[in-house]
């Protein structure tokens, strides 16, 4: 246990030191950007860790849930488009209602009569009615000023609500997916979720009336002030002037205004980023506290028992499928929250940016490297891996440059290496994953309960 505490201390203090070094030697804005994305990654990894580390569910569909979270940001925070609502809103709602009714009827009929033909007939009829309303509606919505809107828009609520909504949206999807797939064996589950996440993305990309599809939604409202506005706010200017009064006084009077302007602009950037850091940190802390409380309660004991031995846990009266579904939903909801946070931070929703390498496999690397089953492990994993992912690129160039510096600059090999240095990042990530898995298989912070 003491060894664990030492590891905990060393790994976190090293990470903090690294970030501080970035701040001192490169810039604080970069440092905060990295920290903010590390925090989001940590939350995403936490969600996956709950599924994998607690319950052994191998979910390779993280990308889909992150995208759903991101989609909810648009649906919540953007203003509605009245013209589009007028053009096809009603029909679209009818279509969606009929779709829901069809599904409900099919499920009811299946349970009541067990007749496949009846169910299929219902689905077919429902499909054609839905499609009749739907194709009309989607066309008229999408033709409303397609370059700017072409979608129904959102609810126009404060963007922070969308973090909760993102969680719920992802949870709802996870419930549906879990209902279908959780009976499957681990590797089948993995590939099924991989496929389903692709389907989710295909729908988001192609249903423009929802969130504009690949046309992207930009200028999403922020939960924090804009740098430019901050720079023009009186209290902020005063505060910075006071803060830097000493260093300003040294300068000649002529230069003071320019210098102050520089300070204000720099401070406004940091201020905005720090506000995000604050928001993200509170979400992360809240989730960690909740997760830890749950894990150390009888609930957590039950979940660990299920992971250890499903047959025995079932014989001891625990409903495995129900619990797996619960965990799948909770973990996916957390991923959804992180997805919503990411889109809020980026200020735009671009469905094209969701690719498995970045949103599924990278998160898995975080979980494994951090230490599966340990909440703080996924936090440190998220930090370390994101840091590497961002910083491996300049290091790749640096390594390529250094290792061939003895060669002539016209040398083919050197040129090739320098031109292809950005791909060192991929090799590097793979190596880190393999090395950690091999030499520290429990990750940086091993699961505390597993003392075997």
């Amino acid at each position: 246990m003491n060894q664990y505490k030492a590891r905990l201390f060393i790994s976190f203090s090293m990470m903090i030191l690294l970030l501080l070094l970035v701040g001192f030697f490169q810039s604080w804005a970069l440092c905060l950007t990295i920290v903010n994305l590390c925090l989001i990654s940590a939350i995403m990894a936490l969600g996956v860790n709950i599924q994998w580390g607690y319950a052994g569910l191998f979910n390779v569909g993280i990308m889909g849930f992150a995208a759903l979270g991101g989609m909810s940001v648009v649906l919540i925070s953007k203003n509605s488009v009245p013209e589009a609502l007028q053009a096809g809103g009603l029909k679209m709602f009818i279509a969606l209602f009929i779709l829901a009714a069809t599904v409900a009827a099919a499920v009811y009929l299946h349970k009541k009569f067990q007749r496949k033909s009846l169910v299929i007939l219902t689905i077919l009829i429902g499909y054609f009615i839905t499609r009749y309303f739907y194709s009309d509606a989607s066309q008229s919505i999408e033709s409303v000023n397609p370059a700017l809107t072409g979608y129904l828009g959102g609810l126009g609520l404060p963007v922070l609500f969308s973090w909760i909504a993102g969680g719920f949206l992802a949870a709802a999807a996870a419930w549906l997916i879990g209902k279908i797939t959780l009976g499957l064996r681990t590797d089948y589950l993995a590939i099924a979720t991989l496929g389903i996440s692709e389907i989710i993305l295909a729908v988001i990309k192609n249903e423009d009336w929802m969130v504009r599809g690949v046309k992207n939604v930009t200028s999403i409202p922020r939960p924090v002030p804009y740098e430019i506005d901050l720079q023009q706010t009186a209290w902020f200017q005063d505060m910075i002037a006071k803060f830097y009064s000493k260093s300003l006084d040294i300068l000649p009077v002529a230069d003071q205004a320019a210098a102050l302007k520089d300070y204000i602009s720099e401070a406004s950037i940091l201020m905005v980023k720090l506000s995000y850091t604050g928001l993200f940190t509170s979400v992360l802390l809240l989730l960690i506290i909740l997760a830890t409380l749950a894990l150390n309660s009888p609930w957590g004991r039950m979940i660990r028992a299920i992971r250890d031995n499903e047959t025995a846990a079932s014989a001891m009266g625990k409903d495995i499928t129900k619990r797996h579904l619960q965990i799948f939903v909770i973990g996916s909801a957390i991923v959804g929250v992180a997805g919503a946070m990411l889109v809020t931070y980026d200020g735009q929703f671009t469905p094209g940016s969701y690719i498995p390498l970045r949103f599924t496999f990278l998160i898995w690397v975080m979980v494994i490297v951090g230490g599966s089953g340990n909440n703080l492990g996924s936090v440190i994993g998220g930090f370390v891996i994101w840091f590497l992912w961002i910083m491996a690129e300049p290091v790749g160039f640096w390594l390529a440059d250094l290792s061939t510096s003895f060669l002539n600059s016209e040398n083919f090999f050197r040129q090739h290496l320098l031109e292809h240095a950005q791909y060192i990042r991929l090799i590097f990530m793979g190596l880190v994953l393999l090395l950690v898995m091999r030499f520290s298989p429990d990750g940086i912070l091993p699961e505390t309960n597993k003392k075997l």
């Binding site: 970069l30 989001i40 397609p146 046309k215 992207n216 740098e227 910083m391 990042r425």
Partner: protein, 398 residues
């Protein structure tokens, strides 16, 4: 094992220090492109073209009294907005670049402009972000692009198609904001002019097989296929599959599809296909062709000329304000890009720098006939090109 972990830790630390040397009398220009990701194959020559301008100016010795310029590359990944922002932050705040050439794709460019360029007050000139949404971006005058908006190209191309008497087409577009935007713009104008679109279908880049796409496009009954895609991605896959099955033999192409990469591989099969590609007066294009050829950069793809121009504009603007200060660069971009002044073409940066040093005025024409409108976009003239005996030939300029 400990050794390996130690190496990782050491590398981690190395990363936090990794600031390249900052020699006195040197300024840096950031080149932020999607080096990895879906357009990873388009970006390396674009970066090379920008670096060509940088080296030309730096070697001339005429820049700010002999100041050297070096380039710093950053990977905007094209699709990952967060990674793009972080890379931009690194260029701006750690590498202290004076301005940025980039980013590549419209999505990552929007993120970079909103989250890094505007807050930090740094000029960003993209040579390939063509989304029409970027026209409306709140950039406080810090964002320019040497690629015209898709809306314009769609219009020009639709006119050309109608002029050629083609009244029925099928469209396939790459499923992103570029393809979709272009397709929307084209469809609007084309149908207004009396054309009929028999089918519009998107395709995903980098997929395994395009036989299904071609099969249904061909079933629409159209004889000509409009392809809004990338020449080494799905767009080429579609054309190849069409030729293989004999579904179409004439293609209507937009800028992303035009380049020898297409004609070299598909050869005479696409003779008679035509399209548009941003590009100016033949004088500008000819001079660029000469400069580009001498440097060995493959000239056959899109956006290379624009990248050269983007870097050149930054350098000239710095010279015009006689300062590598970020704000000063932003103020002078419009001055050097637009008339009045002596016309400067690609390969003539030294001349331009010298005129500016003497206090004269220049009108940078560059490789792409640069002329910015009030929002910092080029209006853009387009070359109508046609494939004749397996080569793209310019028919006329629109």
């Amino acid at each position: 094992m400990k050794k390996c972990l130690k190496i990782i830790v050491v590398l981690l630390f190395a990363m936090s220090f990794s600031v390249a040397g900052f020699a006195a009398g040197t300024v840096k220009i950031g080149i932020l492109q999607g080096f990895t990701g879906p357009i990873e194959s388009l970006t390396p020559p674009m970066a090379l073209a920008a670096e060509l301008a940088i080296n030309e100016a730096s070697d001339s010795g005429a820049f700010l009294g002999g100041t050297k310029i070096v380039s710093v590359r950053g990977d905007s990944t094209c699709i990952d907005a967060s990674a793009a922002t972080a890379a931009a932050e690194r260029l701006i705040n750690s590498e202290k670049v004076i301005a940025i050439v980039g980013a590549s794709c419209s999505g990552s460019t929007t993120a970079v402009v909103n989250n890094a360029s505007v807050p930090n007050g740094i000029t960003t000139i993209s040579s390939s972000a063509t989304s029409s949404a970027l026209t409306m971006i709140k950039d406080n005058g810090f964002f320019f692009r040497t690629a015209p908006s898709d809306a314009r190209q769609g219009q020009v191309l639709a006119n050309i198609v109608i002029d050629r008497g083609i009244k029925q087409v099928a469209i396939t577009y790459t499923n992103n904001d570029y393809g979709k935007g272009l397709s929307n713009a084209f469809t609007g104008v084309y149908t207004k002019l009396g054309g009929k679109i028999l089918m519009t279908a998107s395709h995903e880049d980098g997929k395994a097989d395009y036989a299904a796409d071609v099969a249904s496009l061909s079933a629409s009954g159209a004889n000509d296929l409009v392809v809004f895609g990338y020449l080494d991605q799905g767009g080429k896959g579609i054309i190849q599959a069409s030729l293989d099955t004999g579904a179409f033999d004439r293609f209507i192409l937009a800028d992303g599809m035009i380049g020898p990469g297409l004609t070299d591989d598909l050869g005479k099969g696409i003779n008679g296909s035509f399209g548009t590609m941003p590009g100016g007066e033949s004088e500008a294009a000819q001079k660029w062709a000469k400069v580009g050829k001498a440097s060995g950069i493959p000239l056959d793809g899109p956006f290379r000329d624009g990248s050269y121009d983007a870097a050149a504009l930054i350098i000239l603007a710095a010279q015009a304000g006689n300062s590598a200060d970020r704000a000063s660069i932003q103020k002078h971009i419009m001055d050097v890009a637009n008339a009045p002044g002596e016309k400067i073409f690609a390969g003539e940066l030294k001349k331009g720098l010298q005129i500016l040093a003497k206090g004269g005025k220049i009108d940078y024409v560059g490789a792409k006939d640069i002329e910015f409108n009030e929002v910092g976009e080029i209006f853009g003239s387009y070359q109508e090109v046609e494939v004749k005996s397996a080569k793209f030939e310019t028919i006329k300029v629109h």
